[in-house]
């Protein structure tokens, strides 16, 4: 049966020109066409105009993070397994970049538009001892979905209100262009650290 499915899927891929040569995302961000002169940041995720709320109940657009490289993770605070580990991974990146303190934004955006309101995000920040370099964001379903699409993060809400999701840490440059992604928990952080350093 599996072979049958793969065969069909192969036929399908041949019949739709552009899917097959765009493989699932790993490592370095795909190279896009060069932007026209004068619009340097045309690939910037900061073009998205959705507003989010921080753990301090402040309304922000993503563009407010412009000017520093930004490390982004998508999580939800009721998550018991992966999210605390993803958060720990990002904290460990911050720790390794201690000498660059204050020069990098660390961003955690919640999948959970219902439960992760600013107050809950603040609790999570305290519980995980996240310092002032960290911003936690709450957004509505559209804003969160749009960001997940831009960051190639898959997620789905289950009947109990929890989320299945991929674990990806993204690095945006000072202008908000996606420059690097690391998929999976733990693992070697050499590449991501060196990428962030290049962006400083």
């Amino acid at each position: 049966m599996k072979i049958f499915i793969y065969c069909l899927f192969a036929i399908l891929l041949f019949s739709c020109a552009d899917v097959s040569n765009k493989s699932a995302f790993t490592g370095e961000a795909p190279k896009h066409n060069t932007a026209p002169v004068g619009t340097i940041s045309s690939e910037s995720i900061y073009q998205v105009t959705d507003t989010f709320q921080t753990q301090n109940d402040k309304k922000v657009a993503l563009s407010s993070f412009e000017g520093k490289p930004t490390v982004v993770g998508m999580i939800f605070t009721h998550c018991t397994y992966a999210c605390p580990r993803l958060t720990a991974d990002i904290k460990s990146i911050e720790e390794k970049l201690k000498s660059e303190n204050g020069k990098v934004n660390y961003l955690l955006v919640s999948f959970d538009s219902q439960r992760d309101l600013p107050e809950q995000l603040q609790k999570f920040a305290n519980a995980n001892q996240l310092d002032k370099n960290f911003t936690l964001l709450h957004g509505d379903e559209n804003a969160v979905r749009t960001l997940s699409v831009l960051l190639n993060v898959q997620f789905e809400k289950d009947a109990e209100g929890n989320f299945s999701h991929s674990n990806i840490i993204s690095v945006l440059d000072k202008k908000g262009v996606l420059v690097f992604q690391k998929e999976g928990l733990n693992g070697d952080q050499t590449d991501i650290i060196s990428t962030i350093k290049q962006q400083l």
């Binding site: 069909l8 020109a17 899917v19 690939e43 910037s44 073009q47 699409v149 299945s164």
Partner: protein, 251 residues
């Protein structure tokens, strides 16, 4: 509204003008295709859905009203280089392409479909909504198995000229062409599906995802659903593909 009658073997090719009609899809329960311990059937409240996919002519109106969505102006972050490639120019589908004015618009990205939906004060259907709507059996159409019909369509290459909307079957909810013409974007196409690639299941891969891998599916005989879910899983938001369009819903 013009009603088109047809049979499976002999679909009539009447020119029908889409009038932005929506039909009601009754409330139901959606059993997620990939079963994990946590995904119980999701209640889907009743909603309205466009009876046909959005056509080239309709999409042209949107592009006219929203210059940032013209082919020459669109941002690569939001639509790749195939965006509306089948049109003659920014604001013209083309005299030579007259046959496709009322065919579903394709070569549109998720972001473009989202923007169109917002402009129309509508939304893209969720996977649960789309699958619920597509489950209704065909009306006026003799078939043995809807799955076989869909699979038969899947194996055919894209037609050179995409037929007009309402050229395949209408289902019991009154929706046209839920299968047989194009694939359609959903709001949450990038939903977690357990694994992007079911061939490998090693620890490294499991670590990439929260909640482990999908071990079972709700209907193993539904090959067509396997393909739909694989197709969605292979997409990115800025992809523009020659057989992928969309229709909208209102909650």
């Amino acid at each position: 509204m013009i009603i088109t009658f047809f049979s499976a073997a002999n679909a009539q090719k009447k020119v029908v003008i889409s009038k932005d009609e929506m039909v009601t899809v009754p409330a139901g329960k959606y059993q997620p295709f990939f079963i994990t311990p946590n995904n119980q059937p999701i209640p889907v409240p009743s909603f309205k859905m466009d009876e046909t996919a959005v056509t080239n002519a309709e999409f042209l109106e949107f592009v006219k009203a929203n210059p940032q969505w013209r082919r020459s102006k669109v941002n690569r972050l939001f639509a790749d280089t195939n965006y509306l490639r089948h049109w003659q120019s920014d604001l013209s589908i083309g005299e030579a392409n007259k046959k496709i004015y009322n065919s579903p618009v394709v070569n549109v990205s998720w972001f473009a479909a989202e923007a169109y939906s917002k402009w129309k004060n509508k939304k893209l259907p969720t996977i649960a909504q789309w699958e619920t709507a597509a489950k209704a059996p065909p009306r006026n159409f003799k078939y043995k198995s809807l799955t076989d019909f869909i699979l038969d369509w899947y194996t055919k290459p894209n037609p050179k000229v995409l037929p007009n909307v309402k050229s395949t079957y209408q289902n019991e909810y009154g929706l046209y062409d839920m299968n047989g013409l194009i694939w359609e974007w959903t709001f949450n196409f990038n939903s977690f599906i357990g694994s992007r690639d079911s061939r490998g299941n090693d620890e490294d891969e499991l670590k990439n995802f929260c909640a482990g891998g999908a071990l079972n599916v709700s209907d193993k005989s539904d090959y067509a659903a396997f393909l739909r879910f694989s197709y969605r899983g292979s997409l990115k938001g800025n992809f523009c593909i020659a057989n992928l369009g969309f229709r909208c819903v209102k909650n």
